[in-house]
Amino acid sequence: MSLSPDELKELARYVLLTRPDEIGCDDWLGYAPSYAELVAAHQPVPEPLQKAAEHLDMCPECAEEFRGLLAALKEDGAGS
């Protein structure tokens, strides 16, 4: 086991954010399109989609994909 102090600090940050009912990355992908459309349109996010937002706090990779998705949706990227 070879995590450095800084890696353990990052792990501790995630441990503090850990909730019992998190969704996984594949589940997040199911929520992502409707969540992205709301975020792109600056619309409020309803309760069922809050889990998608929470997942992004826990998963840097899905967060990176989400930023890419929002960029893709700008202008007419996927609006037809």
Partner: protein, 199 residues
């Protein structure tokens, strides 16, 4: 561009209608160019390749479209995951999971000492975290968690451990919960963790 309803897209792509497939390819290509803008590894050839992979992934997954967004948003979402997974795979393809977890030295040395009380608290917490990780986590949980915090992408860890991304997430989620319980059992609460790490 043709204005199509979600139902039109599903019907036409389900029939592999040529114009609809070509338009899907155009939508994905344009979306991926925006999603990957500024990434040196995402050159024209890469974007062409992942566009094609994305088209195939979308066509193969039409029945998984839930209908709660525009079809094209869903399709671009699928393609974005394909593209980022491929970018990460290219970066990590030569890294052994076992070596990363078992042999690699810690990436950074311990932080230099500051004042004694906070340094002591930090060192005690680090020691307790290591103890809980060693004592309370399963081998698979430990392997996945360490690889994740060494920076290996989820998809790469999942592939090498024979898991889906969801299953890997559950494994590391369970590990984080065990670590949280272990620290609490040792009398370490969230406030102490934040104080020790200056969070």
């Amino acid at each position: 561009m043709t204005a199509r309803t979600n139902e039109d897209w599903l019907r036409l792509l389900g029939e592999a209608e040529e114009a609809a497939v070509a338009e899907l390819r155009e939508v994905l290509h344009r979306g991926l160019r925006r999603a990957l803008a500024g990434r040196a590894a995402a050159d024209d050839g890469f974007i062409e390749d992942v566009t094609q992979d994305g088209v195939l992934k979308v066509l193969g997954g039409l029945t998984t479209f839930r209908g709660d967004s525009r079809f094209t948003t869903w399709a671009v979402t699928v393609a974005v995951r394909v593209a980022f997974t491929e970018l990460r795979r290219a970066r990590w393809k030569d890294v052994s999971l076992d070596r990363l977890v078992e042999d690699a030295p810690a990436r950074q040395p311990a932080a230099p000492p500051t004042d004694t009380p906070s340094r002591d608290a930090r060192q005690a917490l680090l020691a307790e975290m290591r103890r809980v990780i060693d004592a309370d986590l399963t081998d698979r949980q430990r392997q996945a968690l360490v690889a994740e915090f060494k920076g290996m992408p989820q998809a790469e860890i999942a592939t090498r451990m024979g898991l889906t991304r969801n299953a890997l997430y559950k494994l590391t989620h369970d590990a984080r919960q065990s670590l949280k319980r272990g620290l609490e059992a040792a009398g370490i609460d969230g406030d102490e963790v934040r104080a020790a790490f200056d969070m």
